[in-house]
Amino acid sequence: MLLVLMLAPLLTGFIRKVKARMLRRRGAPVTQPYRDLLRLLRKEVVLAENASWLFRAAPYLIFAATWVAAALVPTFATGLLFSWSADLIAIVALLGSARFFLALAGLDVGTSFGGIGSSREVMIASLAEPAMIMVVFTIALIAGSTQLSSVASFMMSSEVGLRVSLGLALIALVMVALAENARIPVDNPATHLELTMVHEAMVLEYSGRHLAVIEAASSLKLLLYISLIASVFAPWGLAQAGQGPAAYAFGIAIYAGKLAAGGFLLALFETAIAKMRVFRVPEFLGAALMLALLATLLMFVTRSL
């Protein structure tokens, strides 16, 4: 649990650094997100006058739900201690809880920007979540389980092979991950231009430690998605339960490599593509939903594709 928490800001910093390098800038050092978090934590909170208790409780709830979800995804080893307490569907739903409270927090102060962010966020989520559930269905049907540890162990075995439905599910999952983490082309994490922002608009009224907690939660979410993709679609090098410390060390090294690769690809993708108009997003996510549904249908029709 602590590992993901420590690594998450590093990943964010790494992606920012790579993006800056690709734009021929020098960029902030990779440890910058840690410094930002520490600085925010030390500052006082400036609370809007009519903010309610929900506004103050929401950051911690969002953080807790995301952290629990992130802790349930295998990182460098399968057979987590509590992996049976929640399966993939529950992880998706936990992220849904986090989003529910974030959207409410956006509405709490009663500003127009908060509202715009919340209403767009729920629109995006209303398409991204079913697409995600369909991806989960596909994976669960292939692996015969919705338990992430079992899925990862199954994917490491040799019975999987190349499958059309897995490919479709991977594409859909990547599209969902981009939307859920507010990355380009759905949302821009670096903008404060009012017409284009979604996630940033919801957290506009937050400051100090509240903002730090929310930032940490969004880094965690990004890490979660990359770990999820890695553990399902590239499970090589995951240490099995009961193997020696050497296997664990090897697993950690491989995991760091996977995160770096994932972050690099994300940065590459973000620099290469432009942001979409908000009302093109439903088409983008609708495509993800259809791809995932197609993958599930393939699995229902024949178990071998």
Partner: protein
């Protein structure tokens, strides 16, 4: 005394309370007496039903009263299925009575509510207890009429008479469909007792026809699309505790009717039945939540949301039918448990939400969300209860709504084992609809809670709001506690439902109480498991850990300042997002297809000081394509038949004679 007899005494007591209310209507204490007595009776009935269900009584408790049809009597029977639904009915009834103790004080016309409220509770109990077609239909109609009287209690308010009229027409239509269904079921022997019907095996085409009629009859009461039109009109029109009963409990009685007839009386199902039920369920779930998102009236939004949840329940029932038809008993038990669990859950959180809406109505006199806002500051306890209900209904862990949806998803994941191609193609599509409706439900309740309780007050009425009385609050918090308990200890509820599935589909889910750490495991642990307790503990402990650590180690200072809003804060509350604008992105995505939505902006020319206007036009396609033509046809037919009212007596006699001859002729040819 047998359990069924005790329950019938409870029903008789409820009816007596109704008559008492008529007799004492002039006294001011009547309100309190009626609700208190109803509460006590419902609580007794709840205890009896629960002990019957948990005690796993081996034999059903039956009783025949010398009422009803002379050769049949009025048969009553308490088996596992009826015990489960009696638990739901009386839990909702007890809560509504308790809530009524506070809420009923603000009633402007108590004489129109008090006699019918206990009668409505009695009728719902009777439907669930009935063991022959005659008693069933009589109680069913009694239930419809008593609830109709409650819907009409505020008949002077705008639109309420129309709501009552449409409800009456739809309820009569539904009862007619059920009457025909029972007629078909009882045809060979002419015996209307459920025991005889159960023993017979109807021909396949008859069972198919009966299924269609049941879907019309029970479906119209439950609110299946396209028979849902009366529901969002009638449920909000009633007083709020009655709305809670109608939405949370009466729709469940309709589900009971469906389960009783299709799973119990109709004999072994054919696989194609499930395709009908699944399609209707999926369409109901998605359309219900989309309609709900477009509403600005808080109670109407909740009523449309009931439609969505009925869809989810019917998806579970359809899956159970599909598995049962193919002999996959364990899977059928899982799907049926999911549906029954959702019945229980929906009764909990929908009642809770209607109680919350009633509290808002009491405090502000407003149902229109566009005129509310900021209530979390003035009614913090109601806000908390409504928030808990919203989280539960949006199927978010760790509350109970998630558990039943998770079980439904698990049932869908077994369905590749079904041999029929039609089902294999249909089930994933229904799964996608279920996921879509779950995500849209979350959006809908962000809107419902966010616009009503958060932000700044949009009207003076909202600014003057005050927290409601302690009876209402106690009821709401009891249900919040139940939602949480059902969410973190789902294993116990699943085990309590095991005898029901054992009786209906001949299998049960594996016993959950023995699983370590109170997880729930539908099939095998390697396949899937969920532990609400641990998830709840994890979230609570990590949130507390984060909060404490940050407050201790970092800063804990707070400064209040005006809202930032990117540097452009505007003190006018009209600059906030409204319910309409919040739903705009979703309306733009789904609206053109589902509602033929059109938006028109009329922008005055530069220099003109008139405000720009945005007009949104939504059309209800179900009403336009199905009901409007029927309405038109009835109007036309009435015009034609109008001629018959102005004939001479000679012609009338001729008409009677011709009719008589025609009937005799039919009879002669038939024999």
């Amino acid at each position: 005394m047998s359990a069924a007899l005790v329950l019938l005494w409870c029903v008789a007591a409820l009816l007596a309370i109704g008559f008492l209310a008529i007799a004492l209507i002039r006294l001011s204490a009547t309100t309190r007496v009626v609700y208190m007595a109803s509460f006590v009776v419902c609580a007794t009935a709840f205890t009896v039903a629960l002990t019957h269900l948990i005690g796993k009584a081996t034999s059903a408790s039956t009783l025949v009263l010398p009422l009803g049809l002379p050769w049949l009597g009025a048969n009553f029977r308490l088996d596992m299925l009826s015990a489960l639904f009696l638990v739901v009915v009386n839990l909702g009834g007890a809560a509504a009575s308790l809530y009524g103790l506070g809420y009923g004080r603000h009633e402007t016309a108590p004489a129109r509510v008090l006699p019918f409220f206990p009668a409505f509770l009695a009728a719902m109990n009777l439907v669930v207890l009935a063991d022959d077609a005659y008693t069933f239909l009589l109680s069913w109609e009694f239930m419809s009429l008593s609830s109709w009287a409650l819907v009409m209690s505020h008949h002077r308010e705008q639109d309420n008479t129309r709501a009552g009229y449409i409800y009456l027409v739809m309820a009569s239509f539904g009862t007619l469909a059920l009457l025909l269904a029972f007629g078909l079921l009882a045809s060979p022997s002419g015996d209307y007792g459920f025991a005889m019907i159960r023993a017979g095996t109807p021909a396949p085409w008859i069972s198919g026809l009966v299924l269609g009629l049941i879907l019309l009859g029970a479906g119209s009461k439950a609110g299946l699309v396209p028979l849902h039109v009366w529901l969002p009109l009638a449920h909000p029109a009633a007083p709020s505790h009655v709305s809670a009963l109608m939405s949370g409990v009466m729709t469940k009685v309709a589900v009971y009717g469906f389960i009783r007839i299709v799973f119990d009386l109709l004999g072994p199902p054919a696989w194609w039945w499930s395709t009908v039920v699944l399609t209707l369920g999926g369409a109901t779930a998605v359309l219900g939540v989309l309609y709900a998102l477009m509403q600005h009236d808080l109670k109407r939004l909740l009523a449309y949301h009931t439609v969505e949840n009925i869809g989810i329940i019917f998806i579970g029932l359809g899956l159970a039918l599909a598995f049962e038809a193919n002999g996959l008993a364990a899977a059928a038990a899982l799907a049926l448990t999911a549906a029954l669990f959702h019945v229980f859950n929906h009764a909990l959180f929908k009642s809770l939400l209607f109680f919350g809406a009633g509290a808002v109505l009491t405090a502000t006199g407003e149902r229109d969300m566009e005129r509310l806002g900021g209530l979390i500051h003035r009614m913090p306890l109601t806000a908390f209860a409504f928030l808990a209900g919203s989280v539960a209904i949006s199927a978010l862990p760790p509350l109970n709504g998630f558990v039943s949806e998770w079980l439904t998803f698990q049932a869908i994941l077994i369905s590749p084992e079904l041999p029929q191609w039609g089902l294999r193609l249909l089930v994933p599509a229904v799964g996608a609809m279920l996921a879509l409706s779950a995500a849209l439900a979350a959006a809908c309740f962000v809107k419902a809670f966010g616009i009503t309780f958060l932000g700044r007050c949009r009207s003076p009425a909202a600014e003057r709001a005050q927290e409601v009385d302690r009876f209402s609050l106690a009821t709401m918090f009891a249900f919040v506690a139940l939602c949480l308990l059902a969410g973190i200890f789902p294993g116990f509820i699943i085990d309590a439902m095991a005898p029901v599935t054992q009786a209906l589909v001949g299998a049960r889910m594996p016993a959950q109480a023995a699983v370590p750490w109170l997880s729930i495991v539908p099939i095998a642990e390697a396949r899937s498991s969920y532990n609400g307790l641990l998830v709840f503990l994890f979230i609570v402990s990590s949130a507390t850990f984060a909060a404490v650590a940050i407050h201790r180690l970092a800063s804990r200072k707070v400064r209040r300042a005006p809202a930032w809003d990117c540097g452009f804060p505007d003190p006018n509350p009209a600059t906030q997002y409204t319910a309409g604008s919040f739903a705009q992105p979703i309306r733009r995505v789904f609206g053109p297809q589902v509602f033929l939505a059109r938006e028109q902006v009329s922008m005055p020319p530069p220099g003109d000081t008139r405000p720009a206007r945005l007009r949104v036009q939504l059309r209800d396609l179900v009403w336009d394509t199905l009901y409007a033509p029927i309405e038109g046809f009835i109007g036309l037919a009435a015009d034609w038949l109008n001629v018959l009212q102005f004939l001479t007596i000679r012609r009338y006699l001729t008409l009677v004679f011709v009719a008589l001859v025609a009937l005799l002729l039919v009879l002669a040819l038939w024999r």
